[in-house]
């Protein structure tokens, strides 16, 4: 094959002109004549029955055009077919502080806010369940009557023979790990503009990662056929999973628009973003792992409890991912998993970057580091001794087609100076290693069907411009650019010739959305198929002109030429004219459906975890720990990520670095703080995502294992690196000061408490010497 001319090149993102000039439009930048502003009344109680709502005073304000309550949103919905348990506005009960109780549409924001103050709600306050371990013991006053003991779902999996595996282990550890709750904190607060069109149709512009699911949900709740609803995704200011299920304002705005017969825009405040939440849950991991004297992991068992908040959301998927990906990164024959998704009276959790894997990976990689020390083995070497040999199928039925983890480990060991530094840095300075992995899209759709997961259409007309129609959602990760690069590479044209129409349900075919890192693999394959199809049509016409076979042709730099004799060539524009003369209109489609053999085992819950392909990451963190204050300073992180093939190295590196950055926030400083069900830090001032001052040097290394089924060999890049960062930092802290912190985030208080405890124990043993290596 000729060398690639556009794939693998650092093409600037195609939508960057709009981003660097301010002319690109995000949902809240849109406005239309006659537009009303919507505001939502949130529950002040964690758990309360709504006896009545009196809106008469609010409706008396002249600028107020509509008030909606649960009576207007009676149809329940949820992202999973098994979890339709929420209503856009609460019907009977409010289930968390911040739950949506009523909404107002008014001519001005000021009038809408005044109207909220005048809504009279009569609540009957109920006992609230705020601690997941207490909540799952509840025998009455359940959050949802149909969910006994407040348990949303539980799963119990056993593969191989864990008891035998533990018996074979030379070293066994059993510990509890705790991860606090974190929020995506995408910079763009959610916003939805719903336009009730004069012909009885509804157009909805919304900050969503999943236009298709939003389209379905609005149709259900508004009881309108999907064919009369159009969902358009404008530019989206970051998602990270926080916009990957239907968020209440996305239903409330259309309901208000229909009620008022006017366009309605709702934009969340930052506080409302935190209350809508859907972030990573509080997770309690009871982990047991055994290794042999040689460092082979002989068994792993985990009991995981996730504090899911008040609604189902993606919950069962989150808890299943935690189990499916627990051991599947390594070659482990014996695995037991018990996962519980528990309801509490707090905002619902959901999918967040690294969905389901992050907190169990923290526990697993921390414990593996400790076991390596028990066995007096190098932690990097222990990982090398437990590698899979691709292609293979893991014990829990996950098909691994490409596996760049060995190279990731070698690359970070080399770049970080691991051999010279591990255990050898001055006291207070340490280095730690950890690995992670992630899916390249889910092999099974949320709503089970055999329909393609994505379809891409391409049209070429007489202007010789190529237009791609894709349902895939650009959310900052480079989806649009990825399509353009693939089409331009296949057609051998300048990327500037390619136009893209994306994520508009009236114009573009269905794509399941930007979640589970599925876009490059799935929409990329669909785009590749469509581009090859349309190229074949052009080649057929050109072959006729040259009197050759189309297999003898190639395309590059805006020319189509005969491979054996490149002087026989035709410029792309003329080839298009020939092809249109020959075929009529030039259109093509490509779609992608994961292969049957990638869809996983048949056990209950076995549908979550399987992916057509997996990414891998290895990381080394270097930290300083101030023993006086407990303050951890992360000095440097080196991350190697196996993305299969970097279609665009700048965007891949951006994804890897961004993942590390987000993991770092969770590792040392981010946590949602709860007090009696109330979020105490619902702002970016108090929920502290790292600024430039707290972000160390992050170096990324691209590893290309060339997946046999990925487009040009590509697979996931946007999530898989997050999970390794946290245990890499935790393991580095151990190397620095000899304490293991099993609780996230690793705050100075926690480090200091651990250091004091260690000193106490050493004194008790009459051993005054420090250092824990």
């Amino acid at each position: 094959m000729a060398p690639l001319s556009i794939i693998g090149k650092p093409l600037p993102m195609t939508d960057s002109p709009g981003k660097v000039t301010g002319f690109g439009k995000y949902a809240d930048d849109l406005s239309v004549p006659g537009m009303l502003i919507g505001k939502i009344l949130h529950s002040p109680h964690a758990h309360a029955r709504i006896r009545s709502i009196n809106a008469s005073k609010a409706l008396a304000i002249p600028e107020v055009k509509a008030v909606a309550t649960g009576q207007d949103t009676r149809i329940p919905y949820g992202i999973l077919p098994i979890g339709h348990d929420e209503r856009a506005l609460a019907l009977d009960k409010a289930r968390y502080i911040g739950d949506n109780v009523a909404a107002v549409a008014a001519a001005t924001q000021e009038a809408a806010e005044r109207a909220l103050d005048l809504l009279a709600v009569d609540y009957e306050v109920l006992p609230a369940w705020l601690d997941p371990l207490e909540s799952m013991k509840a025998t009455s006053a359940w959050i949802h009557d149909e969910k006994p003991n407040n348990i949303e779902k539980e799963y119990h999996h056993e593969f191989g023979d864990p008891a035998k595996g533990f018996a074979e282990a030379a070293f066994v550890r059993e510990e509890r790990y705790f991860a606090g709750e974190v929020n995506h904190a995408a910079m763009e607060p959610h916003s939805t503009l719903a336009i009730w069109e004069p012909d009885g149709r509804l157009t909805v512009h919304s900050s969503t990662q999943v236009p298709y699911y939003l389209h379905r949900t609005i149709a259900e709740v508004c009881e309108m056929p999907m064919s009369r609803i159009r969902v358009i995704k404008p530019m989206v200011g970051g998602g990270f999973g926080g916009k990957s299920e239907v968020i209440p304002l996305e239903v409330i705005a259309p309901v208000l628009a229909v009620k008022a017969g006017r366009p309605v825009k709702i934009t969340y405040t930052r506080e409302e973003v935190f209350l809508a939440h859907r972030g990573r849950p509080i997770t309690i991991v009871d982990l047991k792992m055994g290794i042999t004297r040689e460092g082979r992991i002989s068994a792993v068992a985990a009991r995981v409890v996730q504090d899911g908040g008040a609604y189902c959301g993606y919950g069962p998927v989150t808890v299943l991912y935690s189990g499916a990906l627990l051991g599947a990164i390594y070659d482990i024959s014996n695995v037991r998993y018990d996962g519980f998704r528990v309801l509490t009276n707090k905002p619902a959790c959901g999918a967040m970057r690294g969905h389901g894997t992050v907190n169990v990976r923290f526990a697993f990689e921390s414990m593996l580091d400790a076991l390596a020390h028990d066995a007096r083995l190098d932690p990097a070497e222990v990982r090398r001794r437990n590698l899979l040999k691709a292609p293979c199928v893991t014990v829990n039925g996950l098909r691994v087609t490409s596996y760049g983890l060995p190279e990731c480990i070698e690359k970070v060991v080399e770049r970080s100076g691991w051999a010279e530094k591990k255990g050898k840095l001055r006291p207070g300075r340490g280095i730690g290693l950890a690995c992670s992995h992630y899916v390249s899209g889910a092999a099974n759709p949320i709503i089970r069907s055999n329909m393609p997961h994505t379809t891409v259409n391409i049209k070429i007309d007489r202007d010789a411009a190529v237009t791609i129609y894709t349902g895939a959602s650009e959310i900052g990760q480079g989806s649009d650019t990825m399509h353009v690069q693939i089409a331009a590479e296949i057609l051998g044209i300048r990327p500037g010739r390619v136009r893209l129409v994306a994520a508009d349900t009236e114009l573009t075919p269905v794509d399941l959305g930007s979640y589970s890192s599925r876009v490059t693999f799935m929409a990329g394959n669909a785009c590749l198929a469509a581009a090859k199809n349309i190229r074949e049509q052009i080649f057929a016409a050109v072959a006729k002109k040259f009197g050759c076979d189309s297999a003898q042709l190639d395309a590059r730099d805006d020319f189509i030429f005969v491979k054996q004799d490149p002087r026989l060539r035709i410029v792309f524009d003329e080839a298009v004219v020939l092809a249109i003369n020959f075929h009529g209109a030039l259109v093509a489609q490509g779609s992608y459906t994961p292969p049957e053999e990638a869809r996983g085992g048949k056990h209950k819950g076995g549908g979550v975890g399987p992916s057509p392909s997996y990414s891998y990451s290895a990381q080394v963190a270097e930290v300083s720990v101030d023993a006086e204050t407990g303050q951890v300073t992360v000095e440097r992180i080196v991350a190697a990520h196996d993305c299969g093939k970097a279609l665009n190295p700048v965007t891949v590196e951006g994804q890897v670095i961004g993942s590390v950055y987000m993991g770092l926030g969770q590792a040392v400083q981010e946590e949602m703080v709860w007090e009696n069900g109330r979020l105490m830090n619902p702002s970016l001032l108090e929920y502290r995502i790292p600024s430039t001052l707290e972000t160390p040097r992050i170096e990324s290394i691209i590893v290309e294992s060339e997946d046999p089924e990925g487009p040009f060999g590509a697979k996931e890049a946007g999530e898989g690196s997050l999970a390794a960062t946290i245990p890499a930092v935790a393991n580095a802290i151990y190397d620095a000061v000899g304490v293991r912190i099993n609780t996230l985030p690793i705050t100075p208080e926690r480090v200091l408490a651990a250091l004091r405890e260690k000193e106490k124990q050493e004194r008790a043993r009459g051993n005054g010497k420090g250092g824990g290596r």
Binding site: P12, M13, S16, G24, G238, T269, E653
Partner: protein, 168 residues
């Protein structure tokens, strides 16, 4: 609320708007002048997405009362390059991956412009410090630093002599 007529000098043009006396500069820019480049990312002046220049100094438009800024030159992200052109900074920002979702980019570009206008050759530490009041959730800042350094080699915030489209 009774509105008052105010004049603002924004991106080199004098604009007259009738607004309530307490209306924030960010809201006047976005709602009354159609300049939606400046963003609102938080409730408490912590994210920097709304940054604009007031006589060359970055301020947060989300906590500035519009009527107090009638005698200064306001520059928003829409005004950092002449119409139809991009500065080397903007091109570099696109080329080096400074924007992912792009929501924070207007604020960052304003802060970087202010930095490079007063110090064309800042050190790594000066860049980091100058950007410490802008939050980005996508990039981990590394590619933003790359963008600034690339821009420094290409002529910084001066308008490009010829329009050089990005995304080609």
């Amino acid at each position: 609320m009774t509105k008052e007529l105010i004049q603002l000098k924004v991106n080199g043009e004098t604009r007259e708007v009738a607004v309530p006396p307490c209306k924030l500069l960010l809201d006047v820019l976005r709602e009354d002048l159609g300049l939606t480049g400046s963003k609102r990312g938080c409730d408490d002046s912590s994210c920097g997405a709304c940054a604009v220049l007031a006589d060359g100094v970055p301020i947060l438009a989300c906590v500035a009362i519009a009527s107090c800024y009638q005698d200064v030159e306001i520059t928003t992200v829409e005004g950092i390059a002449p119409p139809g052109e991009l500065t080397p900074l903007q091109e570099s920002y696109a080329a080096a991956g400074g924007s992912q979702c792009g929501f924070c980019s207007p604020g960052f570009l304003i802060s970087i412009k202010a930095l490079l206008d007063r110090n064309p050759n800042p050190s790594d530490e000066e860049i980091r410090d100058a950007l410490s009041s802008n939050l980005c959730r996508c990039t981990g800042y590394m590619q933003i630093y790359e963008s600034v350094k690339l821009a420094m080699t290409r002529g910084g915030t001066r308008a490009a002599a010829t329009p050089a489209p990005v995304g080609r």
